[in-house]
């Protein structure tokens, strides 16, 4: 009988990742070498293209911009997210839960929506200038440093979650010993707590770096006002030319993969040199202390911060959805609910599209959860030989633009011979589910890894000694211990894939329009109010579903 063991699990998740992530990506990158390989043409391509990146002004600039933007954002977002997480887990203050909720909202809201909000706020004729008269905002935002700040305010949740998860447990005796020896609180933090948190900080930093470097939505939306081409922009312009240059997109994607591999190597190296297995039976769940005198300051600072990071981008979208005409701006006579009425009158395809998107994301979240659980298990507990490769593959979709992955999916899943075995999935809704799983794997895996790292291997080993199979160990020991993280991972995967435009617009089957495609079409047809209303409605429904599930399942878990 086939019995799943750690090695077999390793091979299984490798195979899944290979099919879902590596194959499509390789299909695009191989275009550099063999441009016609999928059409039966074995002519070798122009390899000189690989070096073009250092010659063409646009490519060189995009590379430079991508690196500057990603590095700047990584430093700032890690500091911001890490600090917030440390404050949040150290002190109790009334608005702390709002901070958690906002982090989730930012995480699932696609970057192009956040970016559009920022543009509406900060552009020459935007809200900041027209309503508040803050003329300094426009030049302050539309410059490299301004972009880094906006990117930071959108990406810090990744660092926040990573550090916050690591602070859930702590071994007080180390700090107590230091305090007994007369060390000041700051010294304890600097010499004991901070070094122990370093791996979490680094993990957060790596995630921020990858998510930033692959982001197309923000640079594209900002480009409306301020030209700052990045690698994903150049990839799009290679694809949006005719004859389409898949080979150029392949070259640039290759460099993106190289960059994130470097980032991962750096992270691995840093973690190795600073690893302390410190969780022991003496670990206690960390409970935030009363902030005392600090409470009002913390609360005010927190709310002010949220007004900026949530209020500006989401608020601008909400305002936009209520305007009759864009040029009249904020005045009572220019406000209307007509865009929302239009959404709900049933004539539009929007509700069908929303329903399909919800189905696709929920199935991909569930399947993705199973796969992510397997990947994280292999990464944390197994001695599997190719762990590094698995880790790499599990993160790559974060950095590679969705359109590249989408085109790779066409290459892979549209080969005529697949028809005979019933696997010609291109042109069927199932391919959207596969692509959504690929997109959700990085988030799910990271959250699982974070949670599992805290469950000592010895617990699982003990069960193994008693004869428990791999599945029973996971089922009866691991899963109950990380139930909360499982739920969070599934919800995050669900939320973030609902709005995934790039993959959807390349892969949706005939007569199968989904929510992001509808929103984008409205935007391209200049129905800004309608597009914003659809975004707000869709986002609102997704958040409601998440809150509802959170409430139902968390409470059930707590009662148990």
């Amino acid at each position: 009988m086939f019995r799943l063991n750690q090695d077999r699990l390793g091979w299984l998740v490798s195979l899944i990742l290979f099919v879902l992530v590596l194959l499509p990506l390789a299909a695009v990158i191989v275009q550099v070498l063999l441009p016609g390989v999928f059409f039966g043409d074995w002519q070798v391509g122009d390899l000189g293209l690989m070096l073009e990146v250092f010659k063409r002004p646009l490519w060189l600039k995009s590379l430079e911009h991508s690196i500057v933007l990603a590095c700047g954002t990584t430093v700032l977002a890690t500091l911001l997210g890490g600090t917030l997480a440390m404050i949040r887990s150290s002190w109790k203050f009334p608005s702390a839960r709002l901070l958690d909720a906002s982090v989730w909202i930012l995480l699932i809201t696609p970057s192009f929506i956040l970016a559009q909000g920022w543009v509406m706020f900060a552009a020459g004729g935007g809200i900041a200038v027209k309503v508040f008269g803050w003329h300094w905002v426009t030049p302050a935002v539309f410059q490299p440093a301004g972009l880094i700040v906006i990117m930071t305010l959108s990406k810090f949740p990744l660092a926040y979650l990573s550090v916050h998860a690591a602070m859930e447990w702590k071994v007080e005796q180390l700090s107590e010993a230091a305090r007994l020896c007369g060390a000041s609180a700051i010294r304890v933090w600097r010499t004991i707590q901070a070094p122990l948190l370093l791996p979490a900080f680094l993990a957060g930093a790596a995630l921020v770096f990858m998510d930033t470097i692959g982001d197309f939505g923000l640079p594209a939306s900002i480009a409306a006002v301020y030209r700052y081409p990045t690698l994903p922009y150049s990839i799009y312009s290679a694809l949006y030319t005719s004859p389409i240059r898949f080979d150029m997109a392949g070259v640039l994607s290759f460099y993106l993969v190289v960059l994130i591999s470097l980032a991962m190597l750096l992270q691995t190296y840093a973690v190795k040199s600073s690893r302390f297995d410190f969780l022991s039976a003496r670990a206690v769940p960390s409970v935030p202390k009363k902030a005392g005198k600090l409470t009002p300051y913390l609360t005010i600072a927190n709310i002010a911060f949220l007004l900026v990071v949530i209020g500006i981008p989401i608020g601008a979208n909400v305002l936009m959805s209520l305007f009759k005409t864009q040029s009249k701006g904020l005045s009572l006579s220019n406000l209307t609910f007509s865009h929302y009425r239009e959404l709900l009158d049933g004539k539009t395809e929007l509700l069908t599209g929303l329903w399909r998107s919800l189905l696709i994301s929920s199935s991909s979240a569930l399947l993705g959860l199973l796969i992510g659980l397997g990947i994280a298990f292999v990464l944390i507990y197994s001695q599997f030989r190719f762990k590094r490769a698995i880790e790499m593959m599990s993160l790559v979709t974060l950095a590679v633009p969705g359109v590249v992955l989408g085109i790779g999916y066409i290459f892979v899943w549209n080969q005529a011979w697949l028809q005979s075995i019933g696997l010609l999935l291109y042109g069927k809704p199932a391919i959207l589910v596969l692509a959504a799983i690929a997109g959700a794997i990085p988030i799910i895996t990271r959250m699982m890894v974070g949670a599992m790292a805290k469950v000592p291997k010895s617990l699982l080993d003990a069960a193994q000694v008693q004869g428990g199979s791999l599945i029973s160990r996971v089922r009866f020991i691991l899963v109950p211990l990380i139930r909360g993280a499982l739920l969070s991972a599934a919800l995050a995967a669900f939320g973030s894939s609902v709005f995934d435009l790039a993959v959807n617009s390349i892969l949706f089957p005939p007569n199968f329009v989904t929510l992001p495609v509808t929103i984008n079409k409205a935007f391209e047809d200049l129905n800004f109010g309608y597009a914003s209303a659809a975004t707000v409605l869709g986002g609102g429904i997704v958040i409601l579903i998440i809150l509802l599930l959170e409430l139902l399942l968390r409470r059930k878990a707590a009662r148990k």
């Binding site: 694809l239 399909r356 199935s363 005939p510 199968f512 329009v513």
Partner: protein, 375 residues
């Protein structure tokens, strides 16, 4: 151990259930669509569709039965065309809509195993390129091609790979009426380089926005590469802003960030209709045109329906319906006996770049603009 087995099969069943939900849900949605189509009024189907391709160019191809439902890739009119086509011919059509670049990406990525039968886009140079690659049906002409006006007959390539169904301005001059009076606004494209409009002009980026290419291509084909680059350089040095897509140009214009712009025609008219303070000027020397053309995939398995579709698009009644009901309804029809929108300027003059020239220089021109993005 038995309990364990149960757990295992439990997981398997769960996974299967999820898959089933996906399949049935998606399938169900498809059915809904099918029903919606079926319930739309079917007006006397043409007697026999397979008879309609009465090939003018004598073709020896035997008439074969269609294998499935016609699939059309298009960038506009997706909301009304299935019902209109079914009403006219009794045939169903599946549509895949996207912007020009998305559709072309799909077409090219599918090259080994195409899913489309007909492509209908407002980017003639790109479709011309598909024809050059041998992806399109050649040497067949629909009956209704006889309806084409002389100007549009000239757009049909010698190998008849595609047929024009109309054209709109890839760019007209638009201005914010709060900023300029009609007299003050720019009147010719050359005005964009004048000091009066320094830093106040915008346009879409041809490297990213599909409709912006036919716009710049006209200037390049008239002036040739070098002079064309000089012309656009003079606009850039006059502080012209380049936005990724036409909607961004429109948003910047209504927000007052720029005061005048080159904007795609239907975008311009829909701003006016939405009550935005926008004025439209058709320059006397003509507005560069985006010609919408339709072509058939060479190995289409639904050849009869595909031919019927092209013929249907060249029917004056169809083009009139597109103008009366469509969202992208501001265009110049390609066949006689059709009235354009009453509020469309009757003296609108469209000029299109030669498709072969534009297709040949497309990569070069787009690269030049993309590289400009870094300056």
């Amino acid at each position: 151990m038995q309990k364990l087995q149960m757990k295992k099969s439990g997981i398997a069943i769960l996974m299967l259930a999820v898959l089933m939900i996906v399949m049935t849900a998606c399938g169900g949605a498809n059915d809904n669509n099918g029903n919606a189509n079926a319930s739309s009024p079917v007006a006397e189907p043409t007697p026999s569709v397979s008879a309609s391709p009465s090939e003018e160019a004598a073709s020896t191809e035997p008439v074969t039965e269609d294998e499935g439902t016609l699939t059309v890739y298009l960038n506009d009119f997706d909301d009304i065309i299935p019902a209109l086509f079914e009403a006219a011919t009794g045939l169903k059509v599946n549509v895949v809509a996207g912007n020009g670049a998305e559709i072309m990406s799909r077409v090219q990525a599918e090259k080994g195993n195409p899913h489309w039968d007909v492509v209908w886009l407002d980017s003639m140079p790109s479709i011309y390129g598909l024809g050059q690659e041998g992806q399109l049906l050649e040497g067949w002409a629909p009956e209704n091609a006889a309806n084409l006006t002389d100007a549009y007959k000239a757009y049909v390539p010698s190998n008849s790979t595609y047929f024009p169904t109309g054209a709109h301005a890839a760019g007209v001059i638009v201005y914010n009426t709060n900023e300029y009076t009609k007299e003050q606004a720019p009147k010719t494209w050359k005005d964009f380089a004048s000091d009066t409009f320094k830093d106040d002009i915008g346009m879409a980026d041809p490297a990213v926005a599909a409709p912006a290419f036919p716009f710049v291509a006209k200037f390049f084909s008239d002036l040739q590469m070098e002079e064309g680059q000089k012309f656009f350089d003079s606009l850039f040095s006059n502080g012209m802003k380049v936005y990724p897509k036409n909607p961004n140009v429109a948003a910047a214009l209504t927000a007052g960030e720029i005061k005048a712009a080159a904007l795609q025609e239907s975008n311009a008219y829909s701003l006016v209709k939405a009550g935005e303070p926008i004025g439209i000027i058709w320059p006397e020397e003509g507005a560069p045109a985006s010609v919408r053309v339709a072509a058939i995939q060479k190995d289409s398995k639904n050849m009869n329906a595909a031919k019927a579709f092209i013929n249907f698009l060249l029917d004056p009644a169809t083009q009139q319906q597109l103008i009366d009901q469509g969202e992208e309804s501001y265009f110049e029809p390609s066949v006689g006996g059709v009235n354009a929108k009453p509020d469309r300027d009757p003296n609108a003059k469209l000029v299109a770049a030669d498709a072969a020239w534009a297709s040949e220089h497309e990569a070069e021109i787009k690269q030049w603009f993309a590289d400009k993005a870094v300056k």
